[in-house]
Amino acid sequence: MPDLSVNIHKLQLKNPVMSASGTFGYGLEFDDFIDVNKLGGILTKACTSKNRDGNKYPRMAETPSGMLNSVGLQNKGVDYFIETIYPKIKHYDTHIIVNVSDSTVEGYMEVAEKLNPLEKITGIELNISCPNVKEGGMAFGTSCPMAGTVTKAVRSVYNKTMIVKLSPNVTNISEIAKAVEDEGADSVSVINTLLGMAINAEKRKPILSTITGGLSGPAIKPIALRMVWQVSKAVKIPVIGLGGISNATDAIEFLLAGATAIQVGTANFVDPQVCIKILDGIDEYCNRHGIKNVNELIGALEC
């Protein structure tokens, strides 16, 4: 049995397989299909300072080997999360990391500060890369000063593990990664969705109510892998890789490219058991290749 545990800053994960924010609900939605406790961690859907209704329907469009979404951070706000959702999920024996979003720096700070005391929330993931909100969101993630500012502000009110989730919609993602590392990020998640668009040619209308949306799924895997490779060479903090991961081979590619852990997003929709299959597949790969500790694979790409 290979040792699959990895460390993201202070968090020791049982294994490198986590679920991605916005694609796994609060974990509960998957209880019928898998034992959520087996995962290295779960990233909850975005949590904002106030209730948000999200964008108008339609919010998704299928694309070749992927999908666009424009959910737009729908959630009932941090207070509701603490009062109503947290009690339902705190029994999970895995790291529960809350994805924190907002339109203002103050909003981010408010959410982080309120989450800080929750014992079973062992970390937060700052979403500075959501392409589906008019204000804030991706704007924070596409310039170094903005990314640095929000990271620094949240750092000042949050003392557990803080991961910053980066936007791929930039010329130089390594620079942004370094900016957030400098301001105190403990880890970076690479990548959020790519801004895309879908049109119904017959109706001559955009398919999404928001015209553009975030592209995810296998289609973006080559881009995500490249960015994980670039960022892991640029920063010292651990990188969490995601974007299109659908099977164990994909996951191992991300580890080899430099990711310490991975997240599985859209693939959960296609196969609600995929996270466990990936976990089993990593185990099988390690056994087959005589790898005793999964850390041997991290960044082990031979170029």
Partner: protein
Amino acid sequence: MKKFIHDFEVTLNDKISNDCFVLYLKCPVSLPTILPGQFAEILVGNSSEAYLRRPFSIYDVDYQKNELSLLIKEVGKGTLALSKLKIGETLNLVYPLGNSFSIPPGNKALLVGGGVGIAPMLLLSKVLNEKGKQPDVLIGGRSKNDILEPEKYTVYGNLFVTTDDGSMGEKGMVTQHSVFAEKISEYSQIYACGPDPMMKAVAKVAASQNIPCEISLENTMACGIGACLCCVVETVDGNKTTCIEGPVFNTKKLIL
């Protein structure tokens, strides 16, 4: 209700019209109870173009044979691939999903289906019949060919038909059928599934008569299990997920 993921075996792929077919699928284990209005998310394994699962209402259930069936209309790449499935091939289902139609307060109910929207009405009429209720089924279509497997409904109740061209039943839209003029007050609940304009028309009549009305929505879905929040519908209580809190909604709650 607990959800399952199983590989079903195709026992029959029955082409019932120009562009519609019924898939009969055998469950490898004992079928769980499936409520009328619930649906399944199907993995289209044999298409190079359909990436996400596709949702379909459960058309009928045969607990004895351990089979369920789906009534599917070919409208695009996924349904095209499904139409080509052969006996013995397997199909992966996540099911049973969503809420379900409620039991009517009184004895009689009207079930209205337009085109392939009729799919959830078969299991509903069967279950209502089993519960000692009297389901009247009204099917509308453009022409005779759109009235799919009408004989299946007469087992459980009365059948009424409208067609736009008058080639079967009464001529006109469903809400122009004489049951609306003559018998509407007898019904304690109305159910509808089909094209949006049809459902709106039915909902309007129901509201005017103060009869509770439930419709089944077909919002586009990514996950079907409440995880993605893509399938929302605006209700008087805010956004609701069609896949978990629907697909069946009381029309009073919807902003139509």
